[in-house]
Symmetry: C2
Subunit: 241 residues, 2 copies
DNA sequence: TTTTTATTTATTGGATCCAATATAGATGAA
DNA sequence: TTCATCTATATTGGATCCAATAAATAAAAA
């Protein structure tokens, strides 16, 4: 099913998002093609695609570099995510959820409850909650019945910083992360409550606030990148925490 | 300055946005390349670029078609534009405008005032107001100091329906259009007032409402497209009316 | 020593060839 | 007549060649 050309794009995207290709690193067509074992053609297309996704920056005549982002850009991107996911929550409330959607969201909320009754959190819990979180947001975006939201998010979603800010966590401070994730889970409950009660404005406000909760990580991420450190990252996500 | 490859993309984009290539029309690489007088390579890249911009839809094994959009998609896209431009207005208010920005916005508002004291409108006025409007929105987006907003908008902005809905007007009902544009102009005044007074929330609310004013055109556009008609279009714009 | 200019080199962009693939049409059997 | 299968054709995807271009470097003049 997977076409080789798409694989080149995916592989490069993965290498960027995972940090294997550091921010600012230069990429030329010929060495990249040799490294991936393909010709220049698919690499050329991949570079252009990734440039459009905002992962690469073109240097005229000297190939591409992995896009470098400032802390201000990270924060701005989080704000954009906030209004888009807020709109999704509003429209989901206005359209009402299907029974299946309502049921799956309830199941996800219950799984989260089980996680947080323990009073502490480890890396495995984080990975699990990451999946729960991702699915929770995905359902609401789908329930908005507005494909333009997903389209607009898909741009942000691929940005390395957005990805990182959404799923990064400080493994040296699990107690703090427990509080953060627990609070996020309570916000999920509140969003669900607002949506199922048809309170579009309230759902929008809570969801926007929820997305903005990752702002602190923009700062942390920038600092770590300056010092060459890498944040702990679970994998790629498509939604704010 | 213009590279030939970029020209192929621009030309195709223009043909789509102007309606020369009708919605749903099929495009293959070889005929398109011959028609444009280039080889398949730049056309291939252009097709992929335009697909990512949302202008083309890929048919596996049979090339591309000019993307077809439903009325619901148009409305959804207007909502997305609304929250993004609303966010821009809020952040512009929070950051405060530069003196240059404030001055240019005032000049634009005054030009609009001059237009609407006449009490009626013709096509030339519409073209002029279109430019004023576009620049007005552009300045606010710049003043937000949030490049992610422009990035997110640039996706929507290229969609044929978004473009049409933003700048279309009914040339058979100029009296109605006069009222609509006049009201939009008053909203511009209100947005400017809120921004310069540092009222971020108010600026956001007005701007969002302002963007949503184009909703009626989604319906009109869909109807006209069904019947094969083309709406009167000034040229491409990058902002809501 | 500094600045300008010329030359080399690295790198992308376009054209074309060949291979892979999917669709459409034709042919045959039920 | 209808369905399945096979074949032919249209079309994209990848590889490679050549040309254009921009950057880096070397050389020469001020």
């Amino acid at each position: 099913m997977n076409k080789p050309g798409q694989q080149v794009i995916s592989r490069l995207r993965q290498m960027i998002l995972s940090g294997d290709l550091a921010s600012g690193q230069r990429l030329a067509e010929i060495p990249t093609a040799e490294q991936l074992g393909v010709s220049r053609t698919p690499v050329r297309i991949a570079f252009r695609t990734l440039e459009q996704e905002g992962l690469l920056t073109k240097l005229s005549g000297r190939g591409y570099i992995v896009r470098q982002v400032t802390q201000a850009e990270i924060s701005g991107s989080i704000e954009v995510r906030g209004v888009l996911e807020g709109l999704a929550a509003r429209q989901a409330a206005e359209n009402s959820l299907s029974n299946e959607q309502k049921h799956e969201l309830l199941t996800l909320l219950r799984q989260g409850d089980d996680l947080f009754v323990k009073g502490s959190i480890d890396e495995q819990d984080l990975a699990l909650y990451h999946d729960i979180n991702q699915r929770f947001h995905q359902i609401i975006i789908e329930a908005s019945l507005n494909p333009a939201i997903a389209e607009a998010l898909s741009r942000n979603e691929h940005l390395p910083f957005a990805s990182v800010s959404a799923l990064a966590f400080d493994q040296n401070n699990l107690a703090q992360e427990y509080r953060r994730f627990n609070f996020a889970h309570m916000q999920h409950h509140a969003v669900f409550d607002a949506i199922t009660n048809g309170q579009g404005s309230r759902a929008e406000a809570i969801m926007r606030e929820h997305a903005n909760a990752t702002h602190g990580y923009a700062k942390t991420f920038s600092k770590m990148e300056e010092s060459g450190e890498k944040m702990q990252v679970l994998n790629n996500v498509n939604s704010a925490l």
